[in-house]
Symmetry: C2
Subunit: 331 residues, 2 copies
């Protein structure tokens, strides 16, 4: 069976070059994969020049006259820019011409397109963006990281159910431990929304562990951590900033010292091993869960390898029928 993914070639900080390179890598890695690049054909074609003959056979271009900018108002952009690369990719999913789509563009527009073009599953009130995080003990699937802002208890409940499916079917966790992110582990903690979701989840039949705290996320004390999109967004960006900051400070300190440079030579194998273990780019790709097709978001700063990772995540979600599984879980 061929799997067709529509890829928004104009989305993200490194579009279209890195997006196209990532597409070529993915076609080389997965022989069942066909990728439709949507966007400015004039700009895309030269970027495909480096692809192997084998990959080229499964790379198609569909011209799109417009592109959604990173800072555009999401709903307006999706509604008005009917010829945008992002909207065309999503239309292909709706029409069944592609089983899934991927974009590294405007996050809000991806969510809006998921709802307005691809369509919500009838049993889901609001879709969620989830991200698999490499933590110390395991992979933790965190959601929502920004599809919505605030959530009602029913939304948190549905996020938990969708996270359960993703963890089980895509990340291969036998019986995922589900937890709610709160300001303490005791039952008296949390605000009203979280407290109500806690009660519902305790009766849900899920393997629900109650609350986890902020430090339980990096330690990996649950397989699925549920929070509202405001919190998830801030947390994810804070973690990214902290890691980048630490790297930049170490580089700065190394800059005006000689001994650490020598020391670093001895550390290269270790740093490489750690990088391989925690480089989330490799597994990149943030699925939008709760819509009628496979819609995956890649990080705006994605380069070719991150696009390859996200395409691989999207392909996996399609092969394992993620959408069908979520539909079943919530019936």
């Amino acid at each position: 069976m061929t799997i067709t993914i529509a890829l928004d070639a104009m989305g993200g900080d490194n579009a279209p070059r890195e997006i196209c390179k990532g597409a070529a890598l993915a076609c080389q890695e997965f022989s069942d994969l066909e990728i439709v690049l949507t966007g400015d054909a004039e700009k895309i074609k030269p970027c495909l020049a480096g692809a192997s003959m084998e990959a080229r056979k499964r790379l198609r271009v569909v011209h799109a006259a417009e592109a959604v900018a990173m800072d555009e108002q999401p709903v307006t952009a999706i509604r008005k820019k009917r010829d945008s690369s992002m909207r065309i990719a999503m239309e292909m999913v709706r029409a069944g011409e592609a089983q899934g789509c991927l974009s590294a563009g405007n996050t809000g527009a991806i969510v809006a397109g998921g709802v307005l073009v691809v369509g919500k599953l009838p049993t889901i009130d609001r879709p969620a963006l989830g991200v698999p995080l490499p933590t110390i003990n395991r992979w933790t699937f965190l959601l929502d990281v920004g599809a919505s802002v605030r959530a009602r208890p029913v939304n948190l409940y549905q996020y938990a159910r969708m996270g359960n499916v993703y963890s089980k079917k895509i990340l291969n966790v036998a019986e995922p431990e589900i937890a709610l992110l709160s300001n303490g582990t005791e039952e008296i903690k949390g605000d009203e929304v979280v407290a109500e979701a806690r009660e519902t989840l305790a009766k849900s039949g899920l393997n629900f562990k109650g609350y986890v705290e902020g430090d339980d996320v990096p330690w990996g004390r649950a397989d699925v951590v549920v929070c509202d999109g405001f919190m998830g967004n801030v947390l994810l960006k804070f973690g990214e900033g902290l890691m980048q900051g630490a790297r930049s400070i170490i580089a700065e300190e190394m800059g005006h010292r000689f001994l650490p440079k020598v020391g670093m030579l001895f550390m290269i194998p270790m740093v490489k091993a750690l990088w391989a273990r925690f480089n989330y780019e490799k597994y990149g790709g943030t699925p939008l869960l709760g819509v009628k097709g496979t819609v995956v978001k890649a990080h705006g700063r994605s380069k070719a390898l991150a696009i390859l990772g996200a395409l691989s995540a999207a392909r996996n979600f399609i092969v394992r029928d993620g959408v069908g599984q979520i539909r079943e879980e919530l019936e």
Copy 2:
């Protein structure tokens, strides 16, 4: 002038030994400081045996028959345990027998005691816990980190005002840049609460920068970052967990490799320099702002040096009349 601080000797994971050691260090460092240790006199006295003669002169013990446990319901603990070391320390502040108090105990109980025993300032709806964070560009004062759970716009506004005072008067920032933590920097971001606070702050006369995102916190893109206590609590613990986790992973990797151990020898000066720059324990101490006296919380895991840091922060807050400055700012 002598400055008297009442110190809850029974609060925290390392009480009373490390608390007493920290008190002795502080008396040695600050010749104007007198510390009243509240708690079980039988247990405290042996812990003071190591203190210098000079420090001993300014260390007093006030016996307290009870102690508030870390997991106790805060309001009940403060109300019922009238003979607890924490409550007695706070009573001393209310009675004017001490200018401030410090505890590494139950955070909720410290906040409850601040409100019920020491008393709120009349112009403050809810007090806030603030923490100075060492970031890449500067010190950022983050509040609220857990005095309340959710906040109304007026609370966020008052946090901003109090943070402004702390940054200016205690951290010596000339014109502190104030920002609201949100899920994006654009004006359309945020939930209703944050959006309303944004409008109020824009008209407040403060040096208000609008929204900052999660990654702006570690990069230090503002002097004061305001959020609700739920968010602040999760963020702070997440950051702590991430740092501890990174340390534990590196230690683990070093454990079964030889070369990195050699490399580390070359790096010791750099690691020491970074540690000195980012070891927040040295500057530890989380003030409870918005109450009628100086109330400072230390981390539950505090050892002697962290207690010294927190005592130094409390002393500083007293010397610079932090309470009076906040009263004035909000008049």
